[in-house]
Subunit: 107 residues, 2 copies
Amino acid sequence: MNQDYTANAKIIKALSDPSRLKIIDILSCGEMCACDILEHFDFTQPTLSHHMKVLMGCGIVECRKEGLWNYYSLNGTNCNKLILFLMSLITNTDDCICKEKTKGGCK
Amino acid sequence: MNQDYTANAKIIKALSDPSRLKIIDILSCGEMCACDILEHFDFTQPTLSHHMKVLMGCGIVECRKEGLWNYYSLNGTNCNKLILFLMSLITNTDDCICKEKTKGGCK
DNA sequence: ATTAAATATAGATATATATCTATATAGGGG
DNA sequence: CCCCTATATAGATATATATCTATATTTAAT
């Protein structure tokens, strides 16, 4: 399997959860500490910790530690790369995996 | 949980698999029947059937039946909607879920 | 040093899913 | 009607994951 598919699938998988989409939405306003993010949700602190780990594991979110607090923010570059990947994926480009259509019968 | 998050998470989850990303890439060239898509993969026909069901279930792929063959194609409108959702998600907009940053301490 | 607060980790559980083999269904051709 | 091909479904299995409770770690303040 092409490495691009695998690497981007990991990022996309990190975004495939409603709670994590909401976290991304929250962080789009700027950096925020975990305890303030948590107030937007009904789940427990360890669950948020898990979600943040997933989002950081794929490079879409970064963390700045300051005293007791973890300040999280979006990695804008990686967000943009994901958008560009998806746009190129759905766009018929010259280097597309298939060269010709199959209209009029298979094989 | 906001309905947008849930609905889009379902679409994003459908794209969170390397094989399904490859299928999207293949379909970006135009419609293709299942048997021809299958030739790009090592897994079995029922597995492809499963993947196509997932991709259709979220509205990102459509199917046109013709005789024995199923011709699959991307739903361009829904692809575009997904891109737009992601772009609005990572962009700090007026209707963002959080109104102010938390610089300088939490709570 | 003790305490309190923020976060992380461990372990458990329930659910989802990617894949397989085996079988069923459906449509076309002879 | 019978066979072949394309696709779907059923059922099994192994793995992943979202969540919880309980506990550990880290850092600051007193």
